[in-house]
């Protein structure tokens, strides 16, 4: 127990040390606080993206999917990298608008594109509400980590309280430093969570150390492990399509994802960071899934697939390997919660409180963002405590995924097409979100009579039709058309090509 707790403590200590050493002594502007002054390079942006994309649940839920259902787990690889690639295609346009119009959040862009505060507010609320259950689940994961680390000797309540205390103390720095506080630690957290785990998977799959699972195990898998849902079983043919499609279009709808574009110093940085994100995610997740699929041959993993990651570590490496496995999940959970808390605080201040009628100063915006983060986190902590053993919260997280994708219609059409207007965007989002919520509550998993399509896809279709019909019915004024044309013209031209680096001219030494 002491070894595992000690490993977690060392990791945590290094994170706090990095934060302490990199904190700014001067008061940051709101741009600095919210998007890091748009000054970060590709590795930092990529690590930040990877941290906000893969929660600690990857090692529990997704690993459990591979360890329980086999090749089905690979759907996460498909939607993640196809979705992240969308950032590449949007990068130039979104970054130019961000730099030209000083955008800080994804709802900022939607509000600007449709010249509508309600569109901005609704988009922001959908984002914040959808992220909330994930933060709660992330906090609860911390409780589970301490249950393992204490060897089951601490009570559930004690583990959850300690887990909450650990993440809340960490958030002091997120609140204090904003985006900078994330970016400086995401690199370290990302290396521990995704690089260490990838190396560990290679080690375990290589068969070194005498473990029974290896790459060779993959050649002897039973057929049912190689089948995806829809190829027999309870699901229809459209189930996998629904999951992957929702993931691809949802990837840029999560507030945490889109904000990465605005932290980057330039178009090259966004694109280079996207390529790196695909590389890190692809390698890490592929190896994790291969390990999970190979582990289907272990009876103790098959009995409880969701705990498979921890079972493998404990079985083949004892306390030290389990400690490393816990630290990896700890790092992944921390990175995800940090990003979510930061972006929700930013959106509350920037999109919901600040307005043209009540323009706030930089200091006021920063202060409101900080208070919002504290309230958001405290609320999540209370809900995490009250719902620790409730399965329904997992359902809420699933519903949130079907809801967040409703931002895709105004976002993608708004960025790539000059048509549509604010009425269409607003009506589309609200109707799509409503339909997705109702259908997902009635059919939490799939709609069997429709080939196992999910409620979110139906919501998305309704959203698109309402967007087009309402936009066509309400029309676009010449003035609005000219405004949108001007925006697209901005997106066609470079914002500012970088100045050449100042030439260093040697000066003669004095005397």
């Amino acid at each position: 127990m002491l070894v595992m707790l000690g490993m977690l403590a060392v990791f945590y200590g290094i994170v706090i040390f990095i934060l302490y050493r990199t904190q700014q002594r001067t008061t940051p502007s709101f741009n600095e606080y919210s998007v890091g002054g748009r000054s970060y390079g590709p590795w930092y942006v990529a690590m930040c993206y990877v941290n906000s994309w893969w929660p600690g649940a990857t090692f529990i839920a997704f690993f459990g999917l591979a360890a329980g259902s086999g090749v089905f787990g690979f759907y996460g690889l498909a939607y993640s990298i196809l979705g992240v690639a969308m950032m590449y295609f949007m990068a130039t346009r979104a970054w130019r608008w961000g730099a030209r119009y000083n955008l800080r959040s994804q709802p900022d862009l939607l509000g600007l594109r449709f010249d509508s505060r309600p569109v901005k507010v609704v988009a922001s609320v959908i984002g914040i509400v959808s992220l909330f259950p994930w933060v709660v689940l992330g906090m609860q994961a911390f409780g589970e980590i301490f249950q393992y680390a204490s060897g089951g000797s601490w009570s559930v309540t004690a583990c959850l309280v300690i887990g909450l205390a650990v993440i809340v103390i960490r958030q002091y720095w997120t609140v204090r430093m904003g985006m900078r506080g994330l970016i400086m630690t995401d690199a370290f957290q990302g290396i521990v969570a995704y690089v260490f785990s990838a190396v560990l998977c290679v080690f375990l799959l290589s068969g070194l150390g005498g473990g029974p699972i290896s790459f060779a195990t993959l050649a002897e898998l039973p057929r049912e492990i190689l089948q995806v849902p829809g190829d027999g079983g309870q699901y229809g043919p459209l189930y996998l399509f629904s999951l992957i499609f929702t993931g691809v279009v949802g990837s840029l709808c999560w507030p945490t994802s889109f904000q990465r574009i605005y932290t980057a110093s330039g178009v090259r940085t966004v694109k280079a960071a996207t390529v790196r994100t695909v590389l890190i995610s692809g390698v890490f997740y592929t190896l994790l899934m291969l390990l999970g699929i190979a582990a289907t041959s272990m009876p103790e993993v098959a009995a409880q697939p969701q705990a498979g990651w921890f079972t493998i570590m404990e079985t083949y490496g004892g306390t030290w390997l389990l400690g490393l496995g816990l630290t990896i999940v700890f790092a992944a959970s921390m990175g995800h919660i940090d990003g979510s808390v930061q972006v929700c605080g930013l959106q509350i201040a920037n999109d919901l409180v600040d307005s043209e009628k009540r323009k706030l100063s930089d200091a006021q915006l920063t202060s409101i963002a900080k208070s919002s983060m504290i309230v958001f986190m405290a609320l999540a902590g209370v809900v995490a405590y009250l719902t620790f053993n409730l399965d329904r919260l997992q359902l809420l997280a699933q519903i949130s995924y079907q809801g967040i994708v409703q931002l895709a219609v105004p976002l993608f059409l708004g960025v790539f097409w000059r048509g549509g207007n604010r009425h269409g965007a607003l009506a589309g989002m609200l109707s799509g979100f409503g339909v997705a919520m109702v259908l997902t509550i009635i059919y939490p998993d799939d709609i069997a009579v429709l080939g196992s399509i999910t409620g979110g896809i139906i919501g998305l279709a309704v959203n698109l039709v309402v967007f087009l019909v309402v936009s066509a019915a309400t029309g676009t004024s010449a003035e609005e058309k000219a405004r949108v044309d001007a925006m697209f013209e901005v997106a066609r031209n470079p914002v500012r090509v970088s100045d050449p680096a100042p030439t260093f001219v040697p000066q003669p030494a004095d005397g």
């Binding site: 748009r38 000054s39 970060y40 390079g41 590709p42 590795w43 930092y44 942006v45 090749v71 690979f74 690889l77 498909a78 939607y79 990298i81 196809l82 690639a85 590449y88 130039t92 130019r96 730099a99 690199a187 993959l218 050649a219 898998l221 057929r223 049912e224 190689l226 089948q227 995806v228 829809g230 190829d231 043919p237 459209l238 996998l240 399509f241 992957i244 110093s265 330039g266 178009v267 090259r268 940085t269 694109k271 280079a272 996207t274 390529v275 695909v278 590389l279 692809g282 592929t286 291969l290 699929i293 470079p494 914002v495 500012r496 090509v497 970088s498 100045d499 050449p500 680096a501 100042p502």
Partner: protein
């Protein structure tokens, strides 16, 4: 080769890599494809085809995106930044 890439129209570049992305999307989203690859144990470099299918999809997308980045770099389409061309954190 660099001159050839610079001489291509933007439309040609977008079409070429767009087709690659489209194929990766189809492999992941078109039910007849992913269901056709399901449950096949025939090994591809020691990995059952059903697993290799998803790896190939990922490799197609990953290398495609990397290739597009290299091509855009050669064509000088990436050099746009708010900060001077000084060393940037993380590069």
């Amino acid at each position: 080769m660099r001159e050839f890439i610079r001489g291509l129209s933007r439309r040609t570049v977008v079409t070429f890599f767009g087709v690659g992305y489209g194929i990766a999307l189809l492999l992941a989203l078109f039910p007849p494809f992913y269901l056709g690859a399901s449950g096949i144990a025939t090994p591809i470099l020691g990995v059952p085809f059903s697993i290799a299918y998803w790896l190939i999809d990922g490799l197609l997308l990953g290398f495609g995106l990397w290739g597009l980045y290299i091509v855009e770099d050669i064509r000088g389409e990436l050099d746009e930044s708010l900060v001077p061309a000084a060393p940037i954190a993380g590069e």
